[in-house]
């Protein structure tokens, strides 16, 4: 113990102020990033959406010119159709299958940990390599079609047939539902057994228990997955870009894989439309997408009250 007199500091910099200072200081990396790489750029792109801008020369104001061109562009409407198709078809399938498999895994069966690892494995592997793999598996004479032939079914051309490219992407996407399954599984394990026991006493069978206990209590997790799933699906790019190969400027066979972000990328970097980068046009596209996603998310949040059940209400 020191025998010195410790002077009492009565400075403006009180402990509370010091903590506040440190609070802001430690949060600075994110704040800087927010200003420099998010908010700043977003504001600039809002401005740019009203200009013609190819980076090398300064922006030229065109008012609503970009927005007009967008509305008159066939590629834009094709991309909107393709993107909405994917959201409306893929998500329900993913939810139903993921919940189903999670229910299956929730039954205590031998080897559960092993099954969980296998099912989650593909989520670890993403990137070009896996897209090539599925291109190979869904080739007209690929593994899947050979398997279907064994069952007497004539498999379609998948990624070379305009009508089957998007279904092919859905089939391929199913390989990666492991993450969703694990989240539902965690939610299932959180449901108290006492609820099921009480239902048993009242004479409820397994089917009723699933319908009236399990599913309602799963709705928060389902809601979260649907919201994030929609936001993600609206932004499909890499898969479409790689699968359309040399036709990525037009979105593959019959423009069937021209998704919104692919169209945006093509425009931004001058692969379609008038010569040169069209950053102004692309910025307008980006803002339109942002507003669409925002609107869809808000609608979901509003509808949530109808079907999402929160236990502590």
């Amino acid at each position: 113990m020191s025998t010195q007199q410790i002077p009492v500091k009565r400075s403006w910099f009180t402990p509370a102020r010091r903590e506040a200072f440190n609070g802001w200081l430690f949060a600075l990396p994110w704040i800087l990033g927010m200003v420099l790489f998010t908010a700043g750029p977003m504001l600039f792109s809002l401005y740019a959406s009203f200009t013609r801008y190819n980076i090398t020369t300064s922006p030229q104001w065109v008012g609503l010119g970009n927005y007009e061109s967008i509305v008159n562009d066939d590629f834009f409407w094709t991309s909107v159709y393709n993107t909405f198709w994917m959201v409306l078809v893929k998500l329900p399938i993913v939810v139903v299958v993921s919940v189903g498999i999670a229910l299956l895994l929730n039954i205590e069966l031998p080897g559960e940990k092993f099954f969980r690892s296998i099912i989650y494995l593909p989520n670890v592997l993403s990137g070009i390599a896996t897209i090539f793999l599925w291109q190979w598996i869904l080739a007209p004479n690929g593994l899947l079609n050979r398997g279907l032939a064994l069952l007497g079914v004539d498999g379609p051309g998948w990624f070379v047939d305009p009508d089957w490219t998007k279904p092919g992407m859905v089939v391929m996407g199913m390989w990666w539902i492991g993450g969703n399954i694990l989240i539902y599984l965690a939610a299932l394990k959180g449901i108290p057994r006492s609820l099921y026991d009480a239902a048993s006493i009242d004479g409820a069978g397994n089917w009723s228990k699933t319908l009236y206990i399990t599913l309602p209590l799963l709705t928060p997790a389902i809601f979260f997955q649907v919201v994030t799933g929609i936001i993600g699906t609206f932004q499909i790019f890499t898969t479409a870009y790689v699968l359309s190969g040399t036709d990525s400027a037009t979105g593959g066979p019959g423009q069937s894989m021209l998704f919104y972000v692919l169209n945006l990328y093509n425009r931004a970097f001058g692969r379609v439309g008038p010569a040169g980068f069209q950053m102004g046009y692309a910025s307008a596209l980006a803002w339109i997408l942002f507003l669409i996603i925002l609107a869809v998310t808000l609608v979901q949040l509003a509808l949530a009250n109808r079907w999402v059940y929160y236990e502590n209400e």
């Binding site: 440190n22 609070g23 430690f26 949060a27 990396p29 994110w30 800087l32 990033g33 927010m34 420099l36 790489f37 998010t38 700043g40 750029p41 792109s45 740019a48 801008y53 498999i101 299956l104 069966l109 080897g111 092993f114 099954f115 969980r116 690892s117 099912i119 989650y120 494995l121 593909p122 989520n123 670890v124 592997l125 993403s126 990137g127 070009i128 390599a129 090539f132 793999l133 190979w136 593994l143 390989w175 694990l182 989240i183 539902y184 965690a186 959180g190 026991d197 048993s200 006493i201 997955q225 936001i231 790019f237 790689v242 190969g245 945006l264 970097f269 910025s283 980006a286 942002f290 998310t297």
Partner: protein, 304 residues
């Protein structure tokens, strides 16, 4: 008498199931069988990939799972095109730097939200959460514009940030909303007594963060590191937009260029071999740290 009455607990007798709960009960057996089938379907693509990578061109059109003969040479020949040594080093550098950057900055920012009290903290945190929902495409174009104008003074042979590693590494040092969220949840659970004791001994916030909170946050930091590693290693759009010289490509871009090197149809056996090796580092890390991966995923779903 009174003691005996008080020990009488109400007993709920759950409805007895008609069949004993063993592996052999029909319902459970069929469920287990379905699970086995699912596992086979899930792992089949990977096995087919390995099988294809070891086949000769003639064997490619056969439906055999075991190649005949086994073409080990594919793993050498596949890399005879393209600048693979450079690509692999580039990917490693970009991944390592952005991994370090994002973990460091996210843990600093999370510390602020979790352990420090300051005005505006909750509002700012809500903003952090909001950015998680922001579609990245809205910032992509303007960021490109920014990086196409920001000077790089000749770094990696470029005047501007575009066509260098800078756009792919520097932003990582401004933290990631998702990791901030995860770490904050975790850090809040650390008992206050530990940090209060340190403060009494005169430790600065930085010291507290470094010596107490960080070591105790290892599980969350591990989960984040794995996500960040995977994200950086497999990033395609970033390198696609920012890396234009072939010697700067990452493995993902290189692999795609590789597909076109063969004109029309790629040599699928070589492509599968190259693809497997590109996937390998992430696969290995997953197999070693499985537990953290799955914990990290479930952490996000429940809190969400």
């Amino acid at each position: 008498m009174a003691e005996q009455l008080s020990t009488l607990q109400p007993v709920t007798i759950p409805k007895q199931e008609s069949t004993p709960r063993t592996i052999l009960s029909p319902g459970r057996f069929w469920a287990w069988l379905v699970l086995v089938l699912l596992a086979i379907v899930w792992i089949a693509p990977l096995l087919w990939m390995i099988s294809t990578s070891l086949k000769t061109p003639q064997d490619l059109f056969g439906s055999n799972w075991i190649p005949n003969p086994i073409a080990w040479d594919n793993y050498v020949d596949a890399f005879s095109f393209g600048m693979w040594e450079r690509w692999w080093v580039n990917t490693l550098i970009i991944t390592a730097v952005s991994l370090a950057g994002v973990v460091l900055s996210s843990s600093l920012v999370a510390y602020s939200f979790a352990r420090l009290r300051w005005a505006g903290r909750e509002t700012l945190f809500k903003l952090v959460l909001a950015t998680m929902m922001l579609p990245s495409i809205v910032t992509l174009i303007p960021q490109f514009i920014l990086f196409a104008r920001l000077p790089a003074f000749g770094l990696q042979g470029s005047d501007v940030w575009v066509n260098t590693f800078l756009p792919l590494t520097v932003p990582a040092f401004t933290a990631n909303a998702f990791y901030i969220f995860l770490l904050r949840q975790f850090m809040r659970g650390i008992p206050n007594e530990l940090t209060e004791a340190a403060k009494l001994d005169g430790a600065t916030e930085f010291r507290t963060w470094a010596s107490i909170i960080l070591p105790l946050s290892k599980p969350a930091l591990a989960a984040i590191s794995i996500f960040a590693f995977q994200g950086a290693w497999q990033d395609f759009m970033g390198p696609l937009i920012y890396l234009q010289s072939e010697n700067l490509y990452t493995l993902q871009i290189g692999l795609r260029q590789y597909e076109f090197a063969f004109g029309g149809s790629p040599a699928w056996n070589w492509l599968m071999a190259a693809s497997l090796l590109v996937m390998l580092p992430v696969l290995i890390i997953f197999l070693i740290f499985q537990r953290f991966f799955i914990e990290g995923v479930t952490l996000t779903g429940i809190k969400g």
